[in-house]
Amino acid sequence: MTSETVMNDKKKNAAAVSTYADHEVILPPNRLKKAVQKLKPGTKIDFDPVAKAEAALEELSEDFAEWMEQEGKRLSIARDDVTASGINAANRDTLFRAAHDIKGQAATFGYPLVAPVADSLCRLIEHTPDMKHIPMSLIDQHVDAIRAIIHRNTRGDSNLNAARLAEKLRNVTEEFLLHENRDRPDYLELMLSPTLAPGEANGA
């Protein structure tokens, strides 16, 4: 490699930097340009990557019932540890992560009614200022509800009982959280603020 080639490579990989009084604007080398194909108007596209990925996911979905069962079991084991040892930072985090994973995956696995119950459990764990105050019975009710919905194979979103159960648990949890955070108006505002990022279930 000649010194000229090395210089050219360095130039190509260097970021363009504009310096201002209190900040710099940097235009990094675009390493992803290699993957952009510009098509002429009217070019026929015979490959739909989204449809192809959806089809691949559909093939994978044969395993989803088993995966949901495994995630429910993981949550139950985490709950059992909290019951046996009393809540502490480590087992609280394990319980939270198990519930949080279910919240994020249940709809993908075909169990959308499980997600709001898992979300309610996440909020209970995350927003209670003193974890020792979290009623074990409320944790149990969430975990048992999640497992019951999974066990009865309540797939889809049309089961009225599961929806009512989720709503009831959510209401009890929110009431508890309002009480626990009654002296923290700033936190309450944050806790009750709507989400910024919409769910992706509808392809948003």
């Binding site: 990094p28 993957a35 989204v50 990925a53 691949a56 994973d101 994020g104 995956q105 990022a197 509808n202």
Partner: protein
């Protein structure tokens, strides 16, 4: 009109949940990607990042050892690795305002709330590939420009100081109040 040649992109997935990694890998292969590297926590993710030099990182937020936010902060250290500018897509069940803002302020490029969909993931990838944003370095921030669009209704002070390029034309609050409705 553009098309992404996924075949030419190398991805890294960092998620402690094996099921989610499998779903992500399936979607990426479905898009046409061949090279997908996985890591199951932030520490392994950082190690893999320096080793595999991925073009795009997709990371979960909640993970043991160090989480996706800390991982982002470590990648966005100028000089600490080969590519501090790498696009980072944060995939998470956290979608509350404070979380989204924290992710943005850590230097995350795109935010994707679970549950995941093929369309949602594709759109985020398309965005980072087709519309790369400049990076901003201040005393307290290094990451993609957090101003995606010039807001014509913004009436506050221009916080960035410097040359002409940074001055955003705006109506003052007084002018707005005085303007006939």
């Amino acid at each position: 009109m553009i098309r992404i040649d996924f075949n030419r992109l190398r991805f890294q997935i960092i998620d402690d949940n094996a099921h989610m990694r499998r779903i992500l890998r399936t979607l990426l292969h479905g898009f046409g990607t061949r090279e997908v590297y996985e890591a199951e926590d932030g520490a392994a993710g950082l190690e893999g990042f320096t080793h595999f030099l991925p073009d795009i990182v997709i990371t979960d937020w909640a993970m043991p050892i160090f989480d996706g936010l800390e991982l982002t902060q470590m990648i966005r250290q100028p000089g600490a690795n080969n590519n501090p500018y790498v696009p980072i897509i944060m995939l998470t069940g956290h979608s509350e305002k404070k979380r989204v803002i924290a992710a943005r302020d850590a230097g995350v490029t795109e935010f994707l709330a679970k549950p995941i969909s093929a369309k949602g993931l594709y759109q985020r990838i398309l965005n980072v590939v087709a519309n790369p944003r400049p990076f901003i370095r201040t005393r307290s921030y290094f990451g993609p420009d957090r101003r995606r669009n010039a807001n014509p209704n913004y009436a506050g002070p221009e916080r960035r100081k410097g040359g002409k390029a940074d001055i955003i034309k705006q109506q003052s609050l007084l002018e707005k109040v005085q303007a006939p409705s």
